[in-house]
């Protein structure tokens, strides 16, 4: 994560050095001019323009520095937010401690369907961006179904849902070895209700982080 920030800082630093040198040049030149030549109206205009340019460049530099600082702060805030979003979770009877993040948002499916809804593609793009930002993270996609279906066919449907999400993330450039899938069928509903609102919540792909 820090690696990704470094080139930005380096680039900014180079620009700073350039501006600084240019500034020195600008400050040095008029002095020489004063010794060697009579100041003319033309020259003083040029001098004023150059001073203006210097000032503008300095203002730009300051603004850029500010922007960079803000960006860095935002990135650090995002990192803090991501770290803060992580919750370790242990499920009795299922091996391993995993991590969940509210930033890896569930997506949902239509009844008996496993294709990704157009609106949910944005969620998965955000997920892909996050995964690219933290390239060491390995995730597992859980495919879930609502209760209105038979047990084993729902296992097949959950398998397909998890894999259609995986394929979409692969298409966004996430490497295959960072994503595993698991189908829970209708065995682990988030909402135990027996009505449409609950069913809609339960037809989902959920993400867990297996390792950071």
């Amino acid at each position: 994560m820090i690696k990704k920030g470094c080139p930005m800082v380096g680039k900014g630093f180079n620009i700073l050095v350039l501006i600084f040198c240019f500034g020195l040049l600008m400050m040095g030149c008029p002095k020489k001019a004063v010794i060697k030549e009579e100041p003319s109206a033309e020259k003083s205009e040029e001098f004023a323009a150059e001073r203006q340019r210097t000032a503008r460049l300095e203002a730009e530099r300051a603004e850029r520095a500010l922007r960079e600082k803000e960006l860095k702060e935002r990135e650090e805030a995002a990192k803090r937010e991501f770290e803060k979003s992580l919750v370790t979770k242990k499920t009795p009877g299922i091996e391993g401690e995993v991590i969940e993040s509210s930033l890896l948002r569930d997506i949902h499916f239509d009844f008996d369907q496993y294709d990704i809804r157009p609106g949910d593609k944005e969620i998965l793009k955000a997920t892909a961006t996050l995964l690219k930002k933290y390239p060491s993270i390995k995730i597992q996609i859980e495919g879930h179904c609502d209760e209105r279906g038979t047990l084993e066919y729902n296992l097949a449907l959950g398998e397909r849902r998890a894999n259609s999400v995986k394929n979409y993330l692969l298409s966004l450039g996430i490497p295959d070895d960072r994503i595993s899938t698991i189908s829970y069928g209708k065995e682990r509903p988030v909402d135990p209700g027996h009505y449409e609102e609950a069913w809609a919540k339960n037809r989902r792909a959920h993400f867990i982080i297996l390792s950071k």
């Binding site: 009877g93 038979t150 047990l151 398998e159 397909r160 189908s183």
Partner: protein, 434 residues
């Protein structure tokens, strides 16, 4: 292992011994009238505790009723002098039992062995209409096998009336929800002797009895993947034997116990695979883009019924055990899943959705003779056939929570298996424990 002796008793000379093969009842008939059977009080021989005899009587009466073949004539309907009569009646005076309306009479005695740990049951069965003796047998064994002895007795009684033994010495495995986890249990055919088999707090699904009744294969999420496990009936020797990434689910044993068909997700979707019973040599049987589920081996080992949504909706298909000769079996409705073969291999029971509700159906393997067994009774799922083909176990939400029910295979006589409040699903019927 339970061991006990069986002594068929010699027919006494004064019994009419012409018990020829008469079939009284045809279970496959669309309707039939239960045979009214009179059960005089059993006699406690010598120092046999009456409580033990009462238990035999109660288990017997309960199992005769549960069989769906008999209606036990209420004891209080007997004339007073017969209410007090105990033990096996004189075959020459059967007339006095006839006014009760019973067509059969079953009477017996219990003997506690001198060591106090063994018990002997002796019974005689009479046809009251034809006034003849049908059968008499003795069973002997440790007291803890008493229920098993009664189950065998009922099997024998059913055999006398149908020429085919009952399934009172079978067990039904099923899944019980406990909070977030699901554990595998078993119960006797009469719902008694409920035992927990898995105890791992995980999600345990789809129990499948090995053909020798010794082990159960099932899916568990113990290692954060749906893998196949094997376990002994006493909960010992838990062993993970198939654990490819993705699904390893819905096992069904070949009749010879050498192979297992199951659902596997090796290619990003569920397909039907064949493996050796130790998990080796996986071979893919299904082709194409559908989701394939719930493979079930036919009793003769030649065919596999399974679910596929290759046509756009889940339907039942049948293929040869090498994956060839695929044909679609169900065409009515758009959600037909969970096939199970009748032991004769001529019919398949399955769960179909009608108007948003799941119901139990049977259909001939030729695609004809569709029958609906459940109506207006919540959701009914996961049907499986009993080893004699007379019953189907399934789960139903008719009283709220999901419970295992048993019905005659024609839909009559539906009753809950256990007295639990719910959380039961996914029944699987054993073979007979001989």
């Amino acid at each position: 292992m339970v061991k006990y002796l069986l002594f068929p008793i010699l027919l006494l000379s004064f019994f009419i011994s012409s018990a020829e093969a008469r079939v009284y009842l045809d279970i496959n008939a669309p309707t039939f009238v239960r045979i009214p059977i009179a059960l005089p009080k059993w006699k406690s021989a010598d120092k046999t505790p009456p409580a033990l005899t009462a238990k035999v009587y109660e288990t017997l009466s309960n199992n005769l009723t549960l069989s769906g073949f008999f209606r036990v004539v209420p004891h209080q309907d007997f004339p007073l002098h017969l209410q007090q009569r105990e033990g096996i009646p004189n075959p020459l005076s059967l007339e006095e039992w006839m006014p009760l309306g019973g067509e059969a009479l079953l009477a017996g005695e219990t003997f506690l062995g001198s060591d106090g740990t063994h018990i002997k049951l002796k019974f005689h069965l009479f046809d009251l209409i034809e006034k003849k003796h049908l059968v008499g047998k003795e069973y002997e064994g440790p007291i803890e096998t008493l229920r098993n002895m009664v189950h065998r007795m009922v099997n024998e009684v059913i055999f006398q009336f149908t020429r085919e033994k009952g399934v009172h010495n079978t067990k039904i495995a099923f899944v019980v929800r406990q909070g977030e986890s699901k554990e595998i249990y078993s119960a006797d055919f009469d719902g008694e002797s409920v035992k927990q088999i898995t105890q791992n707090q995980s999600i345990n699904l789809s129990p499948a009895w090995s053909p020798d009744n010794k082990k159960i294969a099932f899916t568990s999420y113990l290692k954060r993947n749906p893998d196949l496990y094997m376990i002994d009936l006493d909960g010992k020797n838990l062993h993970r034997f198939l654990f490819f990434p993705g699904l390893n689910a819905s096992p069904s044993w070949s009749p010879d116990g050498k192979q297992i068909v199951l659902m596997m997700g090796l290619e990003g979707k569920s397909d039907i695979y064949l493996v050796d019973a130790n998990g080796g040599n996986p071979k893919k049987l299904t082709k194409g883009h559908g989701n394939e589920a719930s493979p079930r081996w036919s009793p003769n080992g030649k065919w596999i019924a399974f679910v596929s949504d290759r046509s756009g909706s889940p339907q039942i298909y049948i293929m040869a055990q090498d994956g060839s000769n695929v044909r679609r079996l169900t065409f009515e409705g758009n959600y037909n899943t969970e096939p199970s073969w009748s032991p004769k291999g001529d019919r398949i029971t399955f769960c179909g959705r009608v108007g948003g509700r799941f119901n139990i159906f049977t259909i001939g393997t030729d695609g004809f003779g569709l029958q609906k067994l459940t109506t207006n009774s919540g959701n009914n799922e996961s049907p499986c056939w009993s080893p004699d083909g007379r019953y189907i176990a399934f789960s139903s939400t008719r009283t709220g929570g999901s419970k295992i029910y048993i019905t005659n295979s024609n839909g009559l006589n539906q009753r809950p298996l256990t007295s639990s409040k719910g959380g039961e699903s996914n029944p699987a019927w054993s073979k007979r424990f001989e």
